[in-house]
Amino acid sequence: MTLQRIPVAILGPGNIGTDLIYKVRRHPAFELVLMAGIDPSSEGLARARDLGVATSAQGVDAVLEAQPAIVFEATSAYAHKANAPRYKDAGIFAVDLTPAKMGPSIVPSVNMSDDFSAMNVNLISCAAQATIPLVHAISRVTPVSYAEIAAGLSSRSVGPGTRANVEEFTYTSQNAIAAIGGAGKAKALVAINPADPPQIMRNTVYAMVGDDADDDAIKASVHQMIRQVQTYVPGYRLTMDPFRRGDHFMVGVEVEGAGDYLPKYAGNLDIINAAAIAVADAYAATLN
């Protein structure tokens, strides 16, 4: 029996979009039909052509014309806000890698859904994908009144889209850390480091817990969650074992990427793209 492959398009030929080419192609159920951008002379589109991908500089219009079942959008929050309703009208499932937040947010290890009726899923941010599992791991064993995350990203792994959307990056991340991570309140901080050689993406989570919280249960839950995230991001690992610091717990992880397009230090791109593939995969399962 021949498997009918699902047509997939990518809009936005930057770091994220280019890395997605590799991940989409590796997936047996997906067929990459288009990489679209808006600048015919862009490096990203040239790179996609070199990789043998059909390309267009007609942006969202080219995606709508190609009629994929799934589109991965890696542009900017501003662009996705305009594009989202058009995908929906065309019956295209949109996986949004910008912080636009037009559909429900998903962190695969925490709240993977099988209800995709909104036809749009938001992946929040790379920092959210890396830290919400840890916040959730703590909040599922003890109440977390406040959670804070500090993400450290290498300068070379942060593209112009993210840089032009710092406000949405932090704001959308902190809302999701509270809502999906299960914290009463939340704050997200990001530091970008230009060191050469570039530093691997790192994340620290601070979670305020009660005096009566079971420290051993928190540690066990965090360790279990790390193993779960490793099933789709193998380079996700502890750098600071959870420990109590006064009224809060502190835990640190680094995220080494698969090294598909950008080098391995760009774990931030890898974790959000791995999440995108996991969501697309879950949606594809509902089509059969």
Binding site: Y146, E148, A150, G152, S155, P160, R163, A164, N165, V166, E167, F169, T170, Y171, K187, L189, V190, A191, I192, N193, P194, A195, Q199, R202, T204, Y206, M208, T239, M240, H248, M250, G252
Partner: protein
């Protein structure tokens, strides 16, 4: 001779030294004294700026709003300024600041990452604020890189660009080369913010002015992060002796220094401790002085070894978690 705009940062940078525990009372009295002395701008808030209060950097004793209301209520002529780092603060923090009467925002980012400030510089300009593009750790990048980053900030709409030498690492010839490169790249005024790790804060200010800088940062009693800033009252005296035009009254700024010290009781004023010398020497962000000393004590490691590890990792501002991580690693290696 140059006309100098004097920016006092005691009530912001000094909050690093005071572990972010400034109260509205301290702010009110100090801001009133700075205002009376003729300081042009008074920067107020958490050490890492508005939105900076956090478990990661340090929790503030008062809200940003409380501190800013205290400052805005105390000044007659000076403009109240805030420090804002995109990635830490949000638009809501900026809107709050403008609402309570803040006139100046200093939009800060690591000196190679100017494009992170584009969105927030534009928003602040739209709100009618006077905007400074603030390049942190300017000793971590060469002159041509700083010039390029300053040019970006000018293009986003910054009214002036400030080179913040957060490590106290540079000597006067190195400061001069950086200011000169930026001067050739932008038409907007240039400011300089030194730290005193190698005892060069005032000399570096004079070197910056000689190359065309016209905004100067200092703090009363030198009360700023790490080894401290240029001591405001000393800088005013030195600027006057150099023949520069500065609108700050020498006696009244000395009085302001006394008012500030009086507000802090017996709290020690900055001296250049050994750890600070090493941070200046190794080009490590001076705001990590307290985190380094606290982590070294907690994990039983030599703070100097920790400073060198941070230097090797090329940490930038707002990476306090790495201080803890490296202290744990040093302790584990010693075990």
């Amino acid at each position: 001779m140059s006309k100098i705009t004097f920016v006092d940062v005691t009530l912001r940078d000094g909050n690093h030294t005071y572990r972010h525990q400034f109260t509205p009372e301290i702010v009110r009295h100090t801001a009133a004294a700075l205002d009376a002395a003729g300081v042009d701008m008074i920067e107020v808030g958490h050490g890492d700026g508005i939105g900076g209060s956090s478990l990661h950097v340090g929790r503030a004793a008062a809200t940003d709003r409380q501190l800013l209301e205290a400052a805005c209520g105390a000044v007659k002529q000076a403009k109240v300024a805030v420090f804002f780092a995109p990635g830490l603060g949000n638009f809501a923090d900026l809107e709050m600041a403008a609402e309570v009467g803040v006139k100046v925002v200093r939009m800060a980012t690591h000196c190679t990452e100017a494009d992170l400030t584009q969105q927030h510089i534009r928003r602040a300009k739209d709100m009618g604020l006077y905007v400074c593009g603030y390049l942190i750790s300017a000793g971590m990048a060469p002159p041509d890189t700083l010039a390029e980053e300053a040019r970006k900030m000018a293009a986003y709409g910054a009214d002036y660009v400030n080179l913040a030498e957060s490590q106290g690492h540079l000597v006067p010839t190195e400061v001069a080369a950086r200011v000169r490169a930026v001067r050739q790249a932008v038409d907007i005024p240039i400011g300089f913010h030194p730290h005193n790790n190698l005892g060069l804060a005032i000399g570096n200010i004079l070197a910056a002015i000689n190359e065309g800088a016209s905004f100067v940062d200092g703090s009363l009693k030198g009360f700023g992060g790490g080894a401290g800033n240029a001591q405001t009252e000393v800088a005013v005296a030195a600027l006057k002796r150099s023949g520069h035009e500065v609108g700050v009254d020498l006696f009244k700024i000395m009085d302001a220094a006394a008012v500030f010290q009086g507000q802090l009781g017996n709290y020690p004023m900055p001296v250049i401790e050994n750890d600070s010398i090493l941070m200046g020497y190794a080009n490590v962000y001076g705001g990590y002085l307290h985190p380094v000393q606290e982590a070294a004590k907690k994990y039983g490691v030599d703070p100097r070894a920790l400073v060198l590890r941070l230097g090797a990792r090329k940490v930038v501002a707002a990476q306090e978690d790495i201080v803890v991580e490296e202290a744990q690693r040093l302790a584990a290696q010693a075990a």
